[in-house]
């Protein structure tokens, strides 16, 4: 039967907020406390996280302005309007590559962490392939369905996080958070840099313009969407310090999972909360990966006009997989992560600001 559009396939501000939260909550949260604790003394990392949150919110608002200025247009088209055609192609290519790398890194991360906590012998490539296939299946469907997936998974992820945190209260020793404010500002700044990496993802809004309902207030949605991960990261970090002390956290590679490991749910049945926690985490990383792949596909399709969605996905998947499997050891893996984050600063902050500024300079009229 031909499908029939009875419902409205455009999204409202609630979906936008959820989408932004989903893509931002990713692998970063698992390692963030550890990264911050390495250089930042005591519990002062909250300043870094809050700072990173503000930066993310600010960049997010810039993106909101861009999107609402060019309502209904795809990213490529309005970049074209602001600048020239070749520039737009270059920019889209940058985003295309960025999201592809993001996806590759996510695949590799999931495989790596799964191997640590869920498996032992299974090769990383197989774990990745399974994940990639599921992502591909999702991206084959409609875009509206992708966004619906966000709505379906995010509440579960948040719920489990809340549960873990509730039960972790008895493990936490608030005293471990003392002393306060003893770190040097330079360390805090570098911590902010680390934290911003964990908060990347909101630039996805650039690509959702055609889907938005006209009345959507993107600013509010963006702020809520950014706030949720920031609060989550903050709490996770504080919990980690409270439970493991700062020195302990600096040594534990995935403190978030370790918190879940320690949580004791009364009733004795669930000794291993971390498996539940981790499997639920797979859902949110899946969401991020889907959105990233979808964004990448739309970038490439904008550049190569005749490209079919399916073909694009078929090409992208092996490429992404290969890139994901490139790192041969831990340090190369970290380098891949750094590469993604550096490009991310560009895509999330620099390019949108430049675009908005150019658009403003070029002519004040809003394109409806």
């Amino acid at each position: 039967m031909k499908t029939f559009e009875y419902g409205d396939n455009r999204i409202g501000s609630r979906e936008v907020a959820m989408m932004i939260s989903s893509i931002m909550i990713g692998v970063g949260i698992l390692t963030l406390p550890n990264q911050l604790a390495k250089h930042i003394n005591s519990s002062d990392g909250w300043i870094s996280i809050a700072g990173a949150g503000l930066i993310a919110a600010a960049c997010g608002l810039v993106i909101c302005r861009l999107t609402s200025r060019f309502q209904g247009d795809t990213f490529h088209r309005y970049t074209e309007r602001i600048t020239a055609r070749p520039v737009a192609i270059l920019v889209s290519a940058v985003y295309g590559v960025y999201f592809l790398l993001y996806l590759s890194f996510a695949i590799r991360s999931i495989a790596r962490i799964s191997k640590m906590y869920l498996f032992d012998n299974t090769p990383v490539s197989f774990i990745s392939v399974a994940f990639l296939l599921v992502v591909v299946y999702a991206v084959f469907g409609t875009k509206a369905a992708l966004l619906r997936l966000n709505t379906m998974f995010l509440p579960i992820v948040l719920l489990i996080s809340v549960i873990v945190m509730l039960f972790a209260i008895q493990l936490a020793d608030i005293g471990n958070l003392k002393p306060f404010l003893i770190t040097r500002p330079t360390e805090l700044l570098s911590g902010t840099k680390d934290a911003t990496y964990a908060l990347l993802g909101f630039e996805i809004l650039l690509f959702q313009a055609p889907l938005l309902r006209p009345a959507v207030r993107t600013e509010k949605a963006m702020l809520i969407g950014v706030a949720i991960p920031v609060v989550l990261y903050l709490l996770t970090y504080l919990y980690s310090i409270a439970i493991f002390t700062r020195e302990g956290t600096a040594q534990i590679i995935y403190p978030t999972v370790e918190i879940a490991k320690e949580v004791r749910v009364p009733g004795q049945f669930f000794e291993r909360m971390e498996s539940v926690f981790f499997t639920v985490w797979i859902m949110t990383i899946f969401n991020s990966s889907c959105m990233a792949m979808e964004a990448s596909v739309s970038c490439w399709r904008a550049i190569f006009a005749g490209l079919n969605q399916r073909t694009c996905i078929w090409i992208m998947s092996p490429v992404s997989f290969t890139i994901g499997m490139l790192p041969q050891n831990v340090s190369q893996y970290n380098k891949l992560g750094s590469a993604v984050s550096y490009i991310g600063y560009g895509t999330a902050a620099i390019i949108p600001i430049v675009l908005l500024a150019t658009a403003r300079l070029k002519g004040g009229s809003r394109v409806g």
């Binding site: 012998n121 040594q251 320690e262």
Partner: protein, 382 residues
Amino acid sequence: MALTFLTTGCWDRVEINNRGFVVGVSVDAQPAKEDEDKSTARSFRICYQIVIPGAQKGGTEGGKASSGYSNLCGEAVSLSAFNQFAADKLSRPPFYDHLKVIIISDRVARVGSGFSDSLDFFLRGTGLRRSIKILVAKGDASQALNSESPNEKLPATDIENISGNRRSLEKPPASHIGYIHERLMNETSFAVQQLETQNKSILVSGSAVFDGRTNREAGTLDARQTAGRNFLLGSKMRGFITFQSDGIRVALDVYEIRSHMRANVRDPEHIVFDVSVHARVSIRETTGAQDLMNTSVMNRIQSDAADEIESMIADAVDKIQHDIRKDALGLGDYLKKNHYHTWKKISNDWDRGKYMLGGCIVKPQVKVSVLQMGIVDKSERG
């Protein structure tokens, strides 16, 4: 790709009855042979306690034929070397996810880095939890794994339960491997439960104090000193204290200990710690025939109890300050959290160098509140 899915097996699929569940580990020092060069790496004598699941049941077979576990012991240079050895010897390779206790002999803990080295294997492993209990054994640790208990089938479970129960003030709270890891990283000294095996039965009492910096055992606190330390730190242990009051012996069941510390850092060489300890108790046993409902009797008991506790605390502080000389009382930790600038200046000389710890004064102020006295007032007539 798809075909490989179908043809190859699943790499991690292991039948549950093909796992060798290791529930307890003991680490002893291998006595050095005479001609051995002391500077070479010392080896350990390690024992694994492995569960034999089938024999656990014993029901249908009748009788206590098998013991439900088996201990595999051997000599190895490190834990991972022993892991290898175990895999060579057992039909079911060792599986550590259900490991409950690790017992380390004090001979290992006192020298070199045996203590922290043994723990590394268990901290790093992915399936292991940070709540594995660590105990230090007086003398030979592997004996503990051979103990017999009327209640538990597995000695390891027995030890774990004894370690975890909070009903005695004479041992410190159970030290989990995660907790020890944090202390080692923070370089603060800490106390670990001490275990002793006599005639195949286990006694957990007293504490072994470790130096956070060298990772070695620096000394021990006996039962009374451990109790004092528990009071000082306001730990969650419950237990009994016995003392003389007005010619009779009174035993109190301590429900709750609350301790609040304050420090006066004006003189860094003689820091004064005011610790107010509030113990909530109930009277559990008395000799003699005093009327407990009488206020003055009650007050006397409370004040005598407070004196007794203060003396316990003083005993503990004394041992630590003058004998062991490592801060396992949380004093340095307190300074770090609440008087950070002072701490930064003196931390290098706290329990070494100039030894500021020695100069500080701990002033406990204990208050005892008797909440209940039980069901009867007097149990005998004078």
